[in-house]
């Protein structure tokens, strides 16, 4: 009987410890929530992610395919050498239909050599055979419902309150599930950090009031960037979405991109 009693005592003590342990992380989370972020020396001061909501608009009718954006992105973010791009430019060449084929168009050729960061080689199709040709800049689609975030097993990638989809490279386990889940091919596994990597919306720039590098560098104003929570009356962002019929990529997947396009073609995906 005595042992029985002791066991019960032990059980009760264990229960009390468990209850305490369970409550601890909750208490700590609450404390962390009221902490003031952006306090370390390297980080910009006074940025509150809940006070902004970023949006990117891309005008495919303006893109001249210079690839300065892809190049600037590599430089700005120290993106690894090789087939790793946070933003890139695609070239679409739609040929004329074969005579008598009763089609509206021929074949669609797409290429993006080195992500377009050194520009594009000469057009492989003679000019008189081209029906339409254009460039399309691509980057992370800043999904409202990001499938990459959904599948991350540890919470290393997330949608920040300002809409940026980011990766915590000090927490990512490098399982590449997010790379598989991204419908836009915007993610890759970095050969340097062995973690997933992607467009950060140049978070280190936007939090300092600068534009993302690709937007800053675009000579044709094909990339427009802005803050929906702090719109200016003459904001180019507002002008863009009020004057264009916009489209998103792969809308059937329900990802709700916050990257809006103007002037896309059905062949773009």
């Amino acid at each position: 009987m005595k042992t029985q009693f002791n066991r019960r005592g032990a059980l009760a003590r264990l229960g009390a410890v468990l209850a305490g342990v369970l409550a601890l992380p909750v208490a700590r989370t609450a404390k962390a929530a009221v902490q003031n972020f952006f306090t370390s020396s390297g980080a910009p001061k006074g940025y509150d992610p809940t006070e902004h909501k970023w949006l990117i608009c891309l005008d495919a009718t303006k893109c001249i395919g210079c690839g300065l954006c892809a190049e600037a992105c590599k430089k700005e973010n120290d993106v690894p050498q090789g087939p790793y791009y946070r933003t890139w430019v695609e070239r679409y060449i739609i040929t004329k239909p074969k005579p008598g084929s009763a089609e509206t168009r021929g074949e669609t050729l797409v290429d993006s050599p080195a992500g377009g960061m050194h520009g594009f080689p000469e057009c492989p199709v003679p000019e008189d055979q081209i029906e339409q040709s254009f460039f399309v800049p691509k980057l992370c689609n800043l999904c409202e419902h990001p499938p990459c975030v959904q599948v991350c097993p540890v919470g290393a990638t997330f949608k920040a309150p300002d809409g940026a989809v980011l990766i915590d490279k000090n927490y990512c386990i490098g399982c590449a599930f997010c790379v598989q889940a991204c419908p836009y091919g915007a993610r890759f596994l970095s050969p340097v950090t062995h973690t997933a990597e992607k467009c950060t919306l140049c978070y280190h720039r936007t939090t300092r009031g600068l534009k993302p590098a690709c937007v800053e560098i675009c000579p044709a104003e094909a990339r427009i960037f802005g803050d929906l929570k702090n719109l200016q009356p003459d904001d180019p962002l507002r002008k863009f979405y009020e004057s264009n019929r916009t489209q998103v990529l792969k809308p059937h997947l329900g990802t709700g991109p916050r990257v809006l396009y103007a002037g896309l073609d059905e062949e773009v995906r």
């Binding site: 790793y84 797409v110 919470g155 990512c172 590449a176 790379v179």
Partner: protein, 414 residues
């Protein structure tokens, strides 16, 4: 869609046809051979367990001789199931984060818990209740380290009274019942890891978990057939033909259902022919031609169906030795076929671009994280573990078990 003209553009990068997103133009897919064997091993676990459950839950007495072997097989493979996942990580040392901050919308995070539940709450418990009585007995008669091990495994509970053993049996029955949905969950969830990827038309499919479960059952039974025949051969025992025929029967039925569901999947894809169907067709015709048509369909399904099916009809007229060889052959072929199926799913989903405009090539490497050597080693590991387990818990030198559903357990003289 992708013909002559497209190829001229792509010639600059010879390993690709058509257009692939720049980030997809890597040397090898981000998930390679390790992720092929991961669902393979998990499937074998689930299948072997369900096979064992036939004895407990459905009271299929003919299968009693392989009950313990199946359970130990499931256990040995379950121990190795997370290894391929672990080794493919960019940061394996951070693996604990999956358990510490599991992101509950992620199939991979939930897999951690399903795995833990299945290992600890189902398989280990059922094994413990099944072996407890024997462990107590063995710990008394076995000297040395082995005896200490048996004693430790009893967890200090030495009560083998009739009442206590009856409770063990009842618990085992409950655990088996809980275990079947758990096994379905375990492997269904592995299927869901792929089926939930809507970005990938080869994977994103509601049938995926179901196909994974069914092929898991098929491969698990095939593995038990394989292990049973190899073990009796090593031990120079006579094969219990009633048991083997019953296994072959269940294997046949499971294979029929599996083949039907997989055919439905193909029909559905062909009929719906959604966006990207053209690129999937190219892939089947080129990249997956051998593994799909030869590996999965002919070796893995049609030939075994024919062999096992004819045995169902002509069982009495086929001599024992031929029957044994036919069943063994079918089992081995199914094991290859299911591996091919895992390859087709995992690699197939990465052989085409998510732009649906091009296909990638892949040359398998030998060494390194992406090489097949490490996968081969991981594939051998469960067999080594199983050998040790069989030596420890199905040894012929141990005193016979009490009569139970496993009365004629492996290694006991018939």
């Amino acid at each position: 869609m992708t013909t002559g003209l497209t190829n001229t553009v792509a010639e600059a990068i010879p390993t690709f046809q058509g257009y692939v997103y720049p980030n997809e133009a890597t040397l090898h897919p981000v998930w390679s051979t390790l992720i092929v064997i991961y669902p393979y091993i998990t499937g074998l676990v689930a299948g072997a367990f369900i096979m064992a459950s036939l004895v407990r839950v459905f009271n299929v007495k003919a299968l009693a001789p392989v009950y313990r072997l199946s359970m130990l097989t499931a256990f040995a493979f379950l121990l190795c199931a997370p290894l391929p996942l672990l080794f493919h990580l960019g940061h394996p040392e951070r693996n604990y984060e999956i358990m510490m901050t599991p992101h509950l919308t992620s199939p991979m995070a939930v897999f951690g818990f399903v795995y833990a539940w299945y290992l600890m709450a189902v398989l280990l418990l059922e094994l413990w209740f099944d072996f407890r009585q024997d462990l107590v007995k063995w710990s008394e008669v076995t000297p040395g380290f082995q005896g200490v091990l048996y004693r430790a495994l009893t967890l200090g509970v030495t009560d083998v009274s009739e009442q206590s053993v009856r409770l063990d049996m009842k618990m085992e029955w409950i655990l088996s019942i809980v275990g079947i949905p758990s096994a379905f969950l375990l492997h269904g969830y592995v299927g869901f890891i792929f089926g939930s990827i809507k970005a990938n038309p080869w994977w994103g499919n509601v049938l995926m978990p179901i196909m994974f479960i069914l092929s898991a059952i098929v491969s698990g039974i095939a593995l038990c057939v394989f292990n049973y025949l190899v073990l009796t051969w090593i031990r120079r025992k006579t094969v219990d033909m009633r048991c083997l025929d019953t296994m072959a029967m269940f294997l046949f039925y499971a294979l029929v259902v599996d083949a039907v569901v997989e055919t439905l999947d193909v029909l559905h894809r062909g009929f719906a022919a959604e966006e990207g169907f053209a690129v999937l067709q190219t892939m089947i015709r080129e990249k997956l031609f051998y593994t799909l048509n030869l590996g999965q369909v002919i070796i893995g399904t049609l030939v075994p169906l024919l062999l096992l099916g004819s045995l169902q009809l002509l069982r009495r007229r086929v001599p024992e030795l031929v029957r044994r060889r036919m069943i063994f052959g079918s089992g081995a072929m199914i094991l290859i076929g299911v591996l091919a199926m895992r390859w087709n799913v995992v690699m197939g989903g990465q052989f085409f671009s998510k732009s649906l405009r091009g296909v990638m090539s892949y040359k398998m490497e030998f060494a390194g994280q992406e090489g097949w050597l490490i996968s081969a080693v991981i594939m051998c590991l469960p067999f080594i573990i199983l050998t040790v387990l069989v030596k420890l818990f199905l040894s012929e030198r141990l005193p016979a078990s009490e009569p139970g559903p496993h009365a004629a357990a492996m290694g006991q003289p018939h």
